[in-house]
Subunit: 204 residues, 2 copies
């Protein structure tokens, strides 16, 4: 049986993870999106099991103690985490599961589940990275500078990833990722029965 894989799209803030993942999912409806669990309350328009799995603090902590997350973080008084079972089940079925996550989260997953495919999204230039952080608005100059410095530092972690993709034009970045997916589907290591498949198939 062929196994699928967990595809991690990651990178610093301002590299366009969200936009790239959205376009990737629109173009490939066979990719399954990994939904995070959180203790944060749903915002207007957010639905349980679609945007997040909204759970209570106690349940989240219990899941942590049972090692049920591939990674988790505590951010601004709320927990966020990637449920392990869902990912594992889909991968076992041969599916490709997409996870959009920040650099710290990706590094956690690398420790727990190194057979995932790690893609680091890069900005075309540092200037463009700053522009994108500024464009998000609603933040003070101090916040923006802090975010930018943090993003700059996080570029050092690209060496921990399998692939890098420069997000200059979204379509090109998505095509790059599609090539990575197509190549990774052809990886011998995820197939235990290549010879058997050829033998068992009838002639034409």
């Amino acid at each position: 049986m062929a196994k699928g894989f967990l595809l991690i799209i990651s990178g610093p803030a301002g590299t366009g993870k969200g936009t790239v993942c959205k376009s990737l999912l629109e173009r490939n409806n066979d990719i399954i999106y990994s939904i995070s669990a959180t203790t944060r309350k749903p915002r207007t328009g957010e639905a349980n099991g679609i945007n997040y799995f909204f759970i209570e603090d106690e349940e989240f902590k219990e899941k942590i103690s049972k090692d049920e997350f591939l990674e988790y973080a505590y951010v601004h008084t709320n927990y966020y985490g990637t449920p392990k079972e869902f990912v594992m089940d889909e991968v076992k079925k041969g599916e490709i599961v997409l996870l959009e996550i920040d650099v710290q989260g990706a590094l956690q997953i690398k420790k727990n589940y190194s057979e995932a495919v790690f893609v680091f999204l890069l900005p075309p230039t540092m200037e463009e990275l700053k522009n994108r952080i500024v464009k998000r608005g609603t933040e003070t100059t101090e916040d923006i500078n802090r975010r930018f410095e943090n993003a700059f530092k996080e570029l050092d972690f690209v060496g921990e990833y399998d692939y890098f993709v420069v997000n200059e034009k979204i379509e090109d970045a998505v095509s790059d990722i599609e090539s990575i997916i197509r190549a990774e589907r052809l990886r011998v290591k995820r197939h235990s029965d290549i010879k058997e498949k050829v033998i068992s198939k009838g002639g034409k």
Copy 2:
């Protein structure tokens, strides 16, 4: 600096290595073909440095003793080998070097140079494999059966490779290999300066 890589297209006789490589080179004129050295005499139409590097027995043996081949074999009174220096130089320059080779040769290279990218070409079915071996003609039934059995056994070595490609339709097989190339170009491990490149590039 970004390194290139040696792309090994390999597989049993009858899987269509030659046709696939020819089409791959036609569609991608930036791929460099690795020319083998041989002690066999040139056939009509064959040119030195194009089809093979035609060299004398003594020179070949000297190169063996100096470890100048990535792999070599002695077949029907003649030596055949893959010169190491040419491949290494081009890879260092960032080029993609294509080598079409049988399974035994690929396994030798795996021992000496495991950072090459190994692609195993498969027939769609065993029946089709037999058809292709038969179509080559000029061989006795005994020869054909021996070749077929050998090809069948060689399928066991697919586990030693990085990728597998089923050669049902040539265009699809070539597209698969093109995706592998595009993905492998995005491999972090062959780039030592990803962050520097982003930093040094001016804004737009």
